[in-house]
């Protein structure tokens, strides 16, 4: 092969669509592995309906030289086992896209695909049954066509199959290799090839992680010394519970699937009283149920970390789709005034770091700390640099040891102090017996309705947030420091905005971005970012602009703020955002 025929894949988006539960989505996993082995950063997206069998299930895969935290605007390759999948996809196809289609059941209707899209249709399922005796092998036939179109050498694919199917025994491996050859033959007959082989990418650092936000948060919990976790299954938070069930016992910790979210949050509170770093995770409906418990932790001054993997609301809403519509509930939910902190990671690395930080903040300021993820950040796999484990610290705040207690003449659990933070002692520590309550109480924890005491206690709790401000996680910034146009986004919007900025730049609009990692309380850096811009687009995944509202309530200059909203259940896409901003800027 000569240098001129070499092609580097810079950025390719693949969609695999089939019936949920028939194994077709493994095609996406196999392609992801092959592309990753060639040195590309891989991002995979799940779009599975909330049921296992039946219903169209779509997997998205993006392989790119740059690190990406979202799918691109166009799809270059579609592998589909049903027509519905293609119909859903038509408007997203790149002009020269390749469509590999199993027409065993329904032939491709004329005129559905745009003119320049290349269609390679064959009855994979029927071929699989006829030649290999099992419908399942349709997937391996399709892999062959897909890898041909991506320009991955046939032998690399065979080698990948050997690695993947070896453990299932020689018979299954053999059948899959036969299916693959069948696919290669088909590709030959139909004249499907990339025209050249792609080559290995170079320059990517070794040892990158392939990890989801949920897995990263679970890992951060363990690294940060979390040793008690209670949860109740709910999409898209379940992987945190499941990952920790697998890992935490080896670290001497306890994981418990509770009977409901009321139990999980109160179990975490009980564990915290016994001095163990505790967390629970759920999604919107569970957060709604936990409001009383979270407010109680705020009142009674109990350290608690709560992960909200947000999904489409309201109520049971769109249970498997991304949205960022619990931000108001986290910032303002619950009865009464109580201190709370809301942290917003923007990628899996952030999920790790901020979970560690949340555990520290919860104990230092003895209050609930939310970690706000969203479905896309929670569940999609991204390629990222390994976490900096050496940077992990454990700060238990004003926790009293038995020795410290012994040297004190008196211990008041809710003692007034300049920073609002009282020293605390946990059950089991000699000399530190105390009363902890969500009722208003005096410094000893005895219920009190005295107006003077009440006012001071309210102020003491509020003071904790002021004291915390200086240490709350700062946001990440990128872009042209001289740009007058600002962008703000959190969660999965962060990665999408990074890419939208490139498209804006290409369209002649220069921007800079702030990803606030602390959304509540609103930090000065966020307010200053806004006043340093002429206009700031706050990009978020909800219908009412909750993030913009929180920032405005925290003092953000609303005259400069503009909302960019999405609430149709689809992930944020860089092109849509760039287009909308360019349009609004040219008015």
């Amino acid at each position: 092969m000569t240098a001129s025929t070499e092609r580097r894949i810079e950025d390719v988006n693949v969609i695999v669509s089939g019936q949920g539960g028939d194994g077709s989505l493994t095609v996406s996993t196999i392609l992801a592995d092959l592309l990753r082995q060639r040195g590309l950063n891989v991002y995979t997206e799940r779009d599975v309906l909330s049921r296992i069998k039946g219903g169209v299930a779509v997997a998205g895969l993006r392989a790119s030289r740059d690190v990406r935290f979202g799918r691109g605007d166009h799809v270059e390759l579609v592998v589909s086992f049903d027509l519905e999948g293609i119909e859903k996809m038509v408007t997203q196809l790149a002009p020269d896209a390749v469509v590999v289609y199993d027409d065993s059941d329904v032939p491709m209707p004329a005129g559905l695909l745009p003119a320049n899209v290349r269609l390679f249709a064959a009855p994979f399922a029927r071929l699989a049954v006829r030649k290999l005796g099992r419908i399942l092998y349709k997937n391996s036939i399709a892999v062959a066509l897909a890898t041909r179109s991506l320009g991955i050498a046939d032998d690399d694919v065979r080698h990948g199959f050997e690695q993947r199917f070896n453990r299932l025994g020689p018979a299954i491996l053999g059948q899959n290799l036969q299916a693959l050859d069948l696919g290669f033959e088909l590709a030959e007959e139909m004249g499907l090839s990339a025209g050249h082989d792609t080559v290995e990418q170079d320059g990517r650092p070794e040892g990158q992680l392939q990890i989801t936000g949920n897995q990263a948060a679970a890992l951060g919990f363990i690294a940060g010394g979390g040793r008690f976790f209670a949860g109740y299954p709910i999409t898209p938070a379940t992987e945190i519970l499941e990952s920790l069930e697998g890992w935490l016992p080896d670290f001497g910790g306890v994981v418990w699937q509770a009977e409901d979210e009321l139990a999980s949050v109160n179990m975490a509170i009980g564990a915290a009283l016994a001095g163990v770093r505790a967390m629970t995770s759920t999604s919107g409906p569970g957060i709604a149920l936990m409001q009383e418990g979270i407010g109680h932790a705020g009142s009674a001054e109990i350290p608690l970390v709560v992960v909200d993997c947000q999904r489409g609301g309201p109520s049971t809403g769109l249970p498997t789709k991304p949205e960022q519509s619990d931000l108001n509930m986290m910032a303002f939910g619950g009865n009464g005034d109580f201190p709370r902190i809301v942290l917003n990671p923007g990628d899996p690395g952030d999920c790790f770091e901020l979970t560690v930080e949340a555990l520290n903040l919860a104990e230092r300021f003895q209050c609930p700390v939310y970690l706000a993820l969203d479905q896309a950040l929670s569940q999609n796999l991204a390629t990222i640099a390994p976490f900096d484990l050496d940077a992990v610290t454990v700060d238990r705040g004003k926790r009293l040891s038995a020795e410290q207690l012994a040297s004190m003449s008196e211990y008041r659990r809710y003692a007034f102090s300049d920073d609002g933070v009282s020293a605390y002692s946990v059950a089991g520590t000699p000399g530190g017996m105390s009363l902890v309550t969500g009722n208003e109480r005096d410094e000893f924890g005895r219920v009190s309705t005295s107006p003077e005491n009440r006012a001071r206690m309210v102020e003491k709790r509020a003071q904790k947030i002021e004291s915390a401000r200086a240490d709350l996680p700062r946001g990440r910034r990128t872009g042209d420091p001289g740009a007058t146009l600002g962008l703000i986004g959190v969660g999965s919007a962060y990665g999408v905005l990074l890419e939208a900025m490139e498209e804006l730049e290409a369209g002649g609009v220069s921007t800079r971005l702030l990803q606030p990692r602390t959304v509540f309380p609103v930090l000065d850096e966020t307010l200053e970012f806004i006043t340093s811009c002429e206009r700031v687009y706050v990009v978020e995944h909800n219908a009412t602009g909750q993030l913009a509202g929180i920032i405005a309530q925290g003092g953000g200059d609303t005259k400069r703020m503009r909302k960019v909203l999405r609430y149709d259940g689809l992930p944020l896409r860089p092109g849509d955002i760039a287009r909308e901003i360019i349009e609004r800027e040219s008015l």
Binding site: I211, A263, A274, V392, A427, G428, G431, M433, V436
Partner: protein, 284 residues
């Protein structure tokens, strides 16, 4: 000695059954030599939910109905603690009733004392799930019996019933319940008939309706079926058994989960090698 919180004066009405529960519990810690810093008293919300204010221990006032999950969380986090949950019948049978089922089922090593007065004392006398038929507001639906519920579940390991009017029996049962949990056998449930003199004063009425199991010839608290039959037969006569109703063998949840004492080493230096190994499993 560090001065910690001064015990509060009880807010209870003179003659309230809850006083007896408090005396039995406070004395049990001494009788069983439980160091006070290793004891936790978690209480629900209600008149009953103030009991922790009068005991030297780590006291906690849980949310209404949530005392069981909080207590189980504390025990799983530090199995060496002696964990007592206490609360009313409204707290434990109405708003928190779901958790009672799961405590029987999963058997965490905590002692739960239900201070059962058949009414909502604190909110001034509304009907509760254990109100007797005829109690105002309870004209529909028959009283729920938490011991019958416990007997119906195969995970249950300890059931006893005391009466505020019988201090000696209550002391014995409180000790036995705490010992059961301390021995790693799991969830000990003690129902205490603890009349509310303000809204449901039934001292006169209860004494004749209680059947002390110590006086029943050949009663075997290890026989769940017989225990259920007798309780059901007594119920048909408007009576209830008191004493040790059932004690079975069981493995406490914390033991089943292999829960370690609080705070396995979380210092980053000690923690990080294994974390690094776990992280490395995500390398592509």
């Amino acid at each position: 000695m560090t001065e910690t919180f001064p015990l509060a004066e009880p807010i209870w009405c003179a003659g309230c059954g809850h006083f007896s529960v408090l005396s039995a519990l406070d004395a049990a810690f001494d009788r069983l030599d439980v160091p006070r810093h290793e004891a936790m008293v978690l209480a629900g919300i209600g008149c009953s939910g103030t009991i922790q204010n009068h005991v030297t221990a780590y006291g906690y006032h849980a949310l209404h109905g949530r005392v069981l999950p909080a207590a189980a969380g504390a025990k799983l986090a530090n199995p060496s603690l002696t964990v007592i949950a206490a609360g009313g019948d409204g707290d434990g049978l109405a708003i928190g009733g779901g958790h009672l089922l799961h405590a029987f089922r999963t058997n965490p090593g905590i002692t739960y004392i239900m201070m059962n007065n058949g009414t909502y004392g604190l909110t001034k006398g509304q009907a509760s799930p254990s109100s007797q038929l005829g109690f105002h507001g309870a004209t529909e639906g028959r009283a729920a019996d938490p011991i019958m519920l416990g007997l119906s579940l195969p995970g249950t390991t300890f059931l006893a019933r005391g009466y505020s009017g019988d201090a000696a029996q209550l002391a014995t049962l409180t000790d036995a319940a705490i010992r059961h949990s301390q021995a790693g056998k799991g969830f000990a449930f003690l129902d205490v008939i603890s009349p509310c003199v303000a809204y449901n004063d039934r001292y006169h009425n209860w004494r004749a309706r209680l059947c002390d199991l110590d006086t029943v010839d050949g009663y075997d608290p290890r026989d769940r079926t017989a225990a259920f039959s007798l309780a059901a037969a007594l119920e048909a006569e408007g009576k209830k058994p008191t004493g040790l109703v059932y004690e079975g063998e069981g493995l406490a949840l914390e033991a089943a989960l292999g829960a370690a004492p609080a705070d396995a080493n979380i210092d980053p230096a000690a923690n990080m090698p294994a974390v690094r190994e776990l992280m490395d499993s995500f390398r592509g």
